[in-house]
């Protein structure tokens, strides 16, 4: 017996939101097919406050002009937590985004969101992953109170949970990470970096900052240290990793292991159809601190992937191993077994 299958709901085309640490990377991302790029100012107002990275006001203005000329959007991350008694540079950053006609600002701090909603009513607000809004009640709090239009979901939920969240919070949009560096802790709720170095993602915009990193060559290989703590040792034949605290090797119960996570990168190319069906509005690629070559390769791959899924074609088989950390990939928290 044959029965007609109900036609599947038409898939919504997700926006591809791509990282740009410099104007050159912004152009690379857009030329490779980004719908949006996200950027930050060259100071501690954003969570990728890395040496030599990010945009000054002139560069942002030019970047926005270039993006808009190609039909792409520019989102600006002002996603650290303003210092008590000194909120001025954060307020200035939000005001400049409004003035330069950024398509949205990505904010994490309640106080700053409150300020933005009051003083810049026409500026579109996105909730940063650093706010760690992991459930519908938290998300609705930001939407009802401040008119947040989109929330970047913390990397703690499974695809199934994301679908359930989307069903409960519509029409608030969700954005999820599809590729790149992977926080294994709930973002914005992690003080590991400041515990070791005094520099924190929330306050200073840098996790495991380069200023506190040291590599030492020994006869056995390379030792990487952060704030004086050994984070890992690599044999000469082993691929090395950046000493991000949660990707280090530690001893627990007398056994050395990657206790928190291996040096690895999130890669969801294989589960893109599931994420699209979960009703996600935008796919985010991590890596403002990576170069143009990374941006071009990853954006190109995900452009092909998303377009293939929407056209009902099979997923392209694209090898991104060579640009992932430790040459390894994971689908992270999107699959329950990861927990």
């Amino acid at each position: 017996m044959t029965t007609a299958q109900p036609a599947p709901a038409p898939l919504t085309r997700p926006e591809l939101v791509c990282p740009a640490g410099t104007p050159a990377a912004l152009k690379s991302a857009i030329d490779a097919g980004a719908d949006c790029v996200y950027v930050g100012f060259r100071d501690e107002t954003n969570a990728r406050n890395f040496p030599g990275l990010n945009f000054n006001r002139r560069e942002l203005a030019e970047g926005i002009e270039y993006a808009h000329g190609k039909g792409a959007k520019v989102l600006v991350a002002v996603n650290t937590f303003p210092r008590a008694g000194q909120p001025e540079i954060w307020h200035r950053a939000v005001a400049d985004c409004d003035e330069l006609k950024a398509d949205a600002v990505i904010l994490a701090d309640i106080g700053l969101i409150d300020h933005a909603a009051r003083h810049h009513p026409n500026l579109r607000l996105h909730l940063s992953v650093q706010a760690a809004a992991s459930n519908p009640d938290a998300i609705r709090f930001y939407a009802d109170r401040y008119g947040i239009k989109r929330v970047v979901l913390p990397r703690v939920l499974t695809v199934q949970e994301i679908a359930e969240v989307n069903a409960r919070i519509a029409p608030i949009e969700t954005e999820v990470f599809v590729f790149g560096g992977l926080c294994v802790m709930a973002e914005g709720r992690c003080a590991l970096s400041s515990y070791a170095t005094g520099q924190s993602p929330n306050i200073n915009g840098a996790c495991s900052p380069a200023s506190d990193v040291r590599y030492t060559e020994t006869n056995e290989g390379i030792t990487s240290e952060l704030g004086g703590f050994t984070i890992n040792k690599f044999a000469h034949t082993e691929p090395a990793g950046y000493p991000t605290l949660c990707k280090g090797r530690f001893i627990a119960n007398d056994k050395a292991s990657y206790l928190f996570e291996e040096p690895t990168s999130l890669n969801t190319l294989a589960i893109l159809p599931d994420l699209i069906r979960a009703g996600v509005t935008a796919f985010k690629i991590e890596g403002r601190q990576r170069g143009r070559a990374y941006v071009a390769a990853v954006v190109g791959a995900f452009r092909q992937g998303v377009d293939a899924v929407l056209a009902g074609k099979s997923l392209p088989d694209i090898d991104l191993d060579r640009i992932t950390e430790g040459g390894k990939q994971t689908t992270g928290a999107y699959e329950k077994a990861w927990r």
């Binding site: 030599g52 990275l53 380069a210 060559e217 601190q289 990576r290 390769a297 640009i323």
Partner: protein, 226 residues
């Protein structure tokens, strides 16, 4: 020795067998001073066409970086002081003089400068080794990546009326290098083939010994006496 500094006689990255290495051997008798005008020209070009680089390096003005193309017989010293930037070619460098050193084959360093390869990926796979102050290296990497350097375009723009002949020479040279690279690869394979064969045989022998050892250990655990 301070941690993270280069030991005098250590080559952290083995130079690949390439045309550059051969060129390096050929350049060995040349005094670095003779090459200095080339680097003066490069710096002039960078300052004119990519002022952003020094701008992004502003916080690291007093932190010179040594760039060490491991396949060439000289190193390059970059002093990023925005008021008086310098790019100096030297035979060698005392690690105490610089904040950090970047070691890598010339081909990799040039690709990195042009943003054609991902610096992190190179580092993860050990094709690039950095020592010393990681922060200044990250800043330099970001500054250069952000500049959007295209060496052939940049240099020809500096040359004015000579641009067109330079361009055609340069692309011919790139083609030629590519072809030489293939030939060299063939040569390299031929040269090391006997060694590879030996090493493969040794590996097989080691695997066999490991397996035997495992069996013995298991037996020891179970029966007390192997």
């Amino acid at each position: 020795m301070r941690p993270g500094q280069v030991r005098a006689n250590v080559k952290p990255v083995q130079p690949p067998f390439s045309p550059v290495l051969l060129l390096g051997m050929a350049l060995k008798p040349v005094r670095p001073a003779l090459l200095q005008p080339v680097f003066d020209g490069v710096l002039k070009m960078l300052r004119r066409r990519h002022p952003d680089i020094l701008d992004r390096m502003a916080d690291y003005a007093s932190k010179p970086v040594c760039i060490n193309p491991v396949d060439l017989p000289f190193v390059i010293l970059l002093d990023p002081n925005p008021d008086d930037p310098r790019l100096t070619v030297r035979r060698e460098i005392d690690p105490q003089e610089v904040a950090a050193t970047i070691h890598g084959p010339l081909e990799v360093l040039l690709a990195l400068a042009e943003g054609k390869v991902d610096g992190d990926a190179l580092f993860f796979t050990r094709r690039l080794v950095i020592e010393g102050d990681t922060e200044v290296v990250v800043a330099l990497r970001n500054a250069i990546d952000g500049a959007g350097i295209d060496l052939i375009n940049d240099i020809s723009a500096e040359l004015g009326p000579l641009a067109r002949p330079f361009r055609s020479c340069a692309s011919a040279a790139v083609d030629l290098l590519g072809r030489i690279q293939d030939d060299i690869e063939t040569l390299r394979t031929a040269l090391i083939a006997p060694a590879v064969k030996d090493s493969n045989a040794q590996n097989a022998r080691i695997t066999q010994l490991e397996a035997e050892l495992k069996t013995l250990r298991k037996a020891a655990r179970r029966g007390g006496v192997a």
